[in-house]
């Protein structure tokens, strides 16, 4: 492998990894704070894909406006889904399995709803950024570079909110001990809703960045949900920072593996790595550093 090829491989790995990190960190935030495994998270990504298609392509809104509307809408939807479906179940004493079943049901419902509304066809979103950046012999489309930059920016903002603001403190407190948080007056239920909204916003950002590279369709969230869960497990269940790091690691593993074996093997290698990690370190690579 030449030096140029190696650099391109690493950058491509970081770009894929940034999407995995966006999706995985959202899942980790939810699990870390509420102990809920949200199987409908991929469908929020899918819906955000359709929203950006609607705003940016069908309605022709400027990119910034379309992206902002998509993020706001998907965050409201994430909060609403939590309030309507998950929060009532969490009031029961044995809610763990019923919530899993509910989010699986929600996932199927949203996929079927998308099929009914938008049909089964795969729809493309044009590139938001045109041209190719050339640095020496390394060539990279601006659209892909934008993915990495925007994803890092959004996750950085989330990290700042989590670790430097009052909202972040109450989210972390609720994640570490929801009953103790309640006892000091923190409305844990409202914190859970906020976390679902933030998590949906992260998935929505992923969808906006991804939609020009893959087609928007009712099933686009499924494979990313699986990768998201892989990232959550690799990072240590519930660890926001761990999920971000694991997302980039997974992206790099996939990208480097493609350089040596046919691309069909990249998922096999990524999940083999996941199994190896679970075997050697069941608590994940970055356990104990939860939100």
């Amino acid at each position: 492998m030449s030096g140029t090829h190696l650099i391109e491989t690493v950058i491509n790995g970081l770009i894929s990894g940034s999407i995995y990190a966006l999706i995985g960190s959202g899942l980790a935030l939810i699990y870390g704070t509420t102990r809920v495994l949200n199987f409908a998270h991929g469908e929020l990504l899918m819906l955000a894909g359709y929203f950006i298609l609607l705003f940016a392509v069908t309605l022709g809104w400027p990119l910034i406006l379309a992206a902002a509307a998509t993020i706001v809408l998907i965050m409201v939807l994430g909060a609403l889904l939590q309030r309507v479906t998950i929060a009532p179940l969490m009031k029961r004493e044995d809610w763990a399995f019923s919530v899993i079943a509910a989010t699986i049901g929600l996932s199927i419902f949203l996929q079927s709803g998308a099929q009914l509304i938008w049909g089964e066809q795969y729809q493309g979103v044009p590139y938001f950024f045109h041209g190719v950046a050339v640095i020496g012999e390394v060539r990279m489309p601006w659209q892909r570079i934008a993915i990495l930059v925007v994803a890092l920016l959004v996750m950085g903002i989330c990290g700042l909110i989590l670790y430097r603001t009052k909202l972040g403190r109450i989210v972390r407190a609720t994640a570490q001990d929801a009953e103790a948080a309640l006892a000091v007056g923190i409305p844990a239920g409202r914190v859970h809703t906020i976390v679902f909204a933030i998590s949906a916003g992260l998935a929505g950002t992923g969808a906006i960045l991804l939609s020009p590279l893959i087609t928007v369709n009712p099933w686009m969230g499924v494979s990313y949900l699986l990768k998201g869960f892989a990232v959550v497990i690799l990072g240590g269940l519930g660890s926001f920072g761990g999920a971000v790091a694991a997302g980039f690691l997974l992206g790099l593993i996939e990208s480097v593996s493609v350089a040596f074996v046919p691309s069909e093997w990249s998922n096999v290698i990524a999940f083999a790595f996941l199994i190896a990690v679970i075997t050697a370190r069941p608590e994940g690579l970055f356990a104990g550093r939860g939100a």
């Binding site: 407190a173 001990d177 009953e179 103790a180 948080a181 006892a183 007056g185 939860g290």
Partner: protein
């Protein structure tokens, strides 16, 4: 001040409190004593709103609270130190303490913070330490500090001596007396009868979720049943 009237609590189909009635007056120190599984912690959780009673009344200064969420209690002047400290383990000691003042304005909280550190000076050197890495005794100090940050008129303490060394038990007891002397009522639970009733103005004995005995601390210590079952004292042969 705090009143529990005929409070019943269920965990699923299991009834754990049976018509429990008790009260804590302003400035009082009241102990709830009983063996393991007698429902002591449930009494405190029901009072704090962390466990919803299936029936009965929980009121603070005449205001009925049983149907209101737990988050209302700190605003009304009730606070709790949970069993086994229950700090936010990956946050700093200072963050833990300041979260105790979540319902208050920053300026008021700062005043209480100074007062709390005056009562609990042992915490000062550890303010930036990660709370989960402190010793059990130090964690209990932080838990008490967090509980006081709400500026409570009544502080509930769930098994405040659990897992502490004898020396630390003495320290925590002294802190409780200081807090109480400053006008904060305390309702605490404990398994040790001597420890419970020697320091409290009044006490309740709880068995299988029922209040079976109540009286002043002295009366409780002198009660033949308490002496026989919980203090291991045999009556002299007649």
């Amino acid at each position: 001040m705090l009143q529990l009237e005929r409070v019943n609590v269920h965990y699923g189909a299991t009834r754990v409190l049976w018509d429990v009635s008790m009260s804590v007056g302003a400035g009082e120190m009241v102990a709830v004593m009983g063996p393991n599984g007698s429902g002591k912690s449930t009494v405190l959780k029901a009072a704090m709103g962390l466990k919803k009673p299936s029936s009965g009344v929980v009121s603070l200064n005449g205001e009925e609270l049983q149907a209101k969420p737990a988050t209302v209690r700190p605003q009304r002047g009730m606070s709790i130190v949970l069993e086994r400290r229950r700090l936010f383990p990956r946050m700093s000691v200072e963050e833990n303490i300041m979260l105790g003042a979540y319902v208050r304005k920053a300026a008021e909280a700062r005043e209480t913070y100074d007062w709390v550190l005056e009562i609990l000076p042992e915490i000062k050197p550890h303010l930036q330490a990660t709370a989960g890495r402190l010793s059990g005794g130090q964690q209990q100090m932080v838990a008490i500090a967090r509980g006081l940050m709400a500026d409570p008129k009544i502080l509930l303490m769930d098994e405040p001596f659990l897992g502490l060394s004898p020396a630390m038990v003495k320290t925590v007891l002294a802190i409780m007396k200081t807090i109480n002397e400053r006008g904060v009522a305390i309702l605490f639970n404990e398994q040790n009868a001597k420890l419970s009733f020697a320091v409290s103005h009044r006490g309740y004995l709880l068995e299988s979720g029922r209040v079976v005995l109540s009286g002043s601390g002295e009366e409780m210590l002198e009660h033949p049943e308490v002496k026989r079952v919980y203090l291991g004292v045999r009556e002299a042969a007649a």
